[in-house]
């Protein structure tokens, strides 16, 4: 039966969280402005009415305390979801994230599990400047012990969230503000998709080929999946057939799908909204070089240059990878 019910990405996220909370009363949500407000980025919209303040918990602006409390509750076997309002705020609480949440399973030799989800909003495009616009995908993916999820559509967002909450490991679930479908921050066409009403899980480490093509492989995630699809549509008019791979998760990283595609196209463009150096683009290119150097005829990286994200629209537009930049990169590798 064809699924034709469309949801925004935020509704899809909320649907998965609500379903898991109904199923398991040990699932609860903590964050700033998640109760009455419903999440600044609509991540908990409507959940307070059903679950009340005990399970949709507003917390003090004390990230070290409440993210750490999520770690502690998770180690007691509960399944907390803790929201960091903007990923840029991780700086005030990073120890709980990377030294506690991410390492306790390993340091205990597997004796301890930390089944929690850290949800957080990422990304720019709306002039929120250097402290509220970063993607920081690579930072979290670099540090061992966290699974890292970056959905680009409502369908993916729901299935990945079900998997995240049921997973016995810490999962960092990064949703792009521009994709959530907020009234004040309109989404581009694309993230709003048909979403099945029943629960379903999407495995981590399985990239999704969002568009098949024979001439070039574009590997990306989050908002830039849609920018890459725009670029591919434009390139198709000139007869350039672009494959667009949505990684969907960074940890684990589906190197196999990328390498398989490069074997077909010979040309690789990696697109990232995170900073260029020491990050995702270098990692993907290096992974392909390790396994399929012979197949690789040309490579381009399109990423945020190594500067803090500026405020003025002209400046943010200059540094933020656009569909036109992706298009140019694909042309360059032809």
């Amino acid at each position: 039966m064809t699924v034709d019910r469309e949801l925004t990405m935020s509704r899809a996220v909320v649907e998965a969280i609500g379903a898991e909370m109904r199923e398991n009363e040990e699932v609860f949500y903590m964050g700033e402005d998640v109760a009455d407000y419903g999440g600044i980025f609509d991540s908990t919209q409507g959940l307070l009415a059903e679950f009340g303040y005990d399970r949709i918990m507003d917390v003090p602006i004390s990230e070290t305390a409440y993210l750490g409390a999520a770690v502690g509750a998770a180690q007691q076997g509960m399944r907390p979801i803790a929201e960091l309002m903007f990923v840029d705020f991780f700086g005030v609480a990073m120890d709980q994230i990377y030294n506690q949440m991410a390492k306790n399973t390993y340091m205990s030799g597997g004796a301890v599990s930390v089944p929690m989800v850290l949800t957080t909003a990422v990304g720019g495009t709306y002039s929120d400047a250097a402290q509220h616009s970063q993607a920081l995908y690579g930072t979290f993916a670099h540090l061992p012990g966290m699974k890292v999820v970056v959905p680009s559509t409502a369908y993916d967002a729901k299935g990945l969230m079900h998997n995240a909450i049921r997973d016995d490991d810490p999962v960092v679930y990064m949703y792009h503000k521009r994709l959530m479908g907020l009234g004040w921050l309109p989404a581009p066409p694309g993230p709003k998709t048909p979403v099945p009403e029943e629960d379903y899980t999407i495995p981590f480490g399985k990239a999704d080929v969002k568009r098949e093509g024979a001439d070039a492989t574009v590997v990306t995630l989050g908002l830039h999946v849609h920018r890459a699809l725009d670029a591919a549509a434009s390139l198709a008019e000139d007869g350039i057939d672009t494959e667009v791979i949505d990684l969907r998760t960074l940890v684990p990283l589906d190197r196999e799908t990328v390498i398989e595609s490069v074997h077909k196209t010979g040309r690789l463009v990696v697109v990232d909204e995170d900073y260029r150096s020491f990050g995702l683009t270098g990692e993907v290119v290096s992974s392909v070089a390790d396994e399929a150097l012979d197949a690789l005829e040309a490579v381009e990286r399109v990423a945020m240059p190594d500067v803090p994200i500026p405020y003025a629209r002209e400046l943010e537009t200059e540094v933020m990878p656009a569909a036109a930049d992706i298009e140019a990169a694909v042309r360059n590798v032809q």
Partner: protein, 349 residues
Amino acid sequence: MISEHRLRALYADMVTARYYEERLQEEYLEGKEPKFDISAGPIPGELHLAAGQEAAAVGVCHHLRDDDVVTAPHRPHHVAIAKGVDLDRMTAEIFGRETGLGRGKGGHMHLFDPDVNFACSGIIAQGCPPAVGAGLAAKKRNTDSVAVAYLGEGAIDQGGFLESLNFAAVHDLPVVFVVEDNDWAISMPQERVTDVEFASKRADGFEMAGVHVDRDDAVAVYEAAAEVVGRARDGNGPTVLSVQVHRRMGHFMGDPQSYRSEEDQDAAMERDSIERMEAHLRDHGVDDDAMAEIREEAHERVDDAIEWAKAQPKPDPESAYENVFTNPPSGVTDTEPDFDLAETGGEGE
């Protein structure tokens, strides 16, 4: 007893700050009505306005000199005005122009004016440690300048604040922490997130001074601040000064405030610190015409700043790559000396 001259000066800054926020609101909403799209209109990004919080800004900053340091949070305009930040260049920054304080790179939450030692940060409570550092520098250099960190009541649960209190207290640093209590941390009422009645009580656990001003009255703040700024300047250590203010607008422009009752919003509008200030002025024999004149001057100053800012050039996109560092990436040198180092083998202890 406060002088009429001082009262007039406080009032001038308060009405400047209030009118500034009202005018920015107008500019910001241009192109955003009826459908609010954050990317429309002449002012980029988020905008957090401080209408209703003027008393805390002027009451403290009027005790400060240019060499005293102020750090403000994401809601900084009223404090910047009271500290004497260049209004034209601040406005140009908010409009994202090349001649703005930060060349259009910082924006409204990240304003820096080193001429008057003002800075702000968009991360809750993270202006506190740099204020402590400014106090430390003053103490090490044996000057009598002071540092003031502004924060909201939602920030008093943050580690950056609490750790700063301890550091400032243990080193007796000349720092004043001014907590502007507007009752709301975005949508979260104070009683949901903290058990202390008012923020100055945080000082108790650090055995430092705490002073609370329970009404948004600029004169009461000015008098309280005389003591606490004086204590810092005289080398007698830090203070937490909390001030009850009120939030007349949303947390940010576009905030639907659906979590906030109409009674609460109405009550905030009634607690107007500017009307209270006008009553003080009348008591000192300043008549309504004289007040109207002060307001008119303030409005003209703000209108001029906005007009100037909007006429400023937009930044050159290439400038996005400048100012990451002060020195070149190579540091202070681009050459390395050529020593004749003996080959020792690096063995032994």
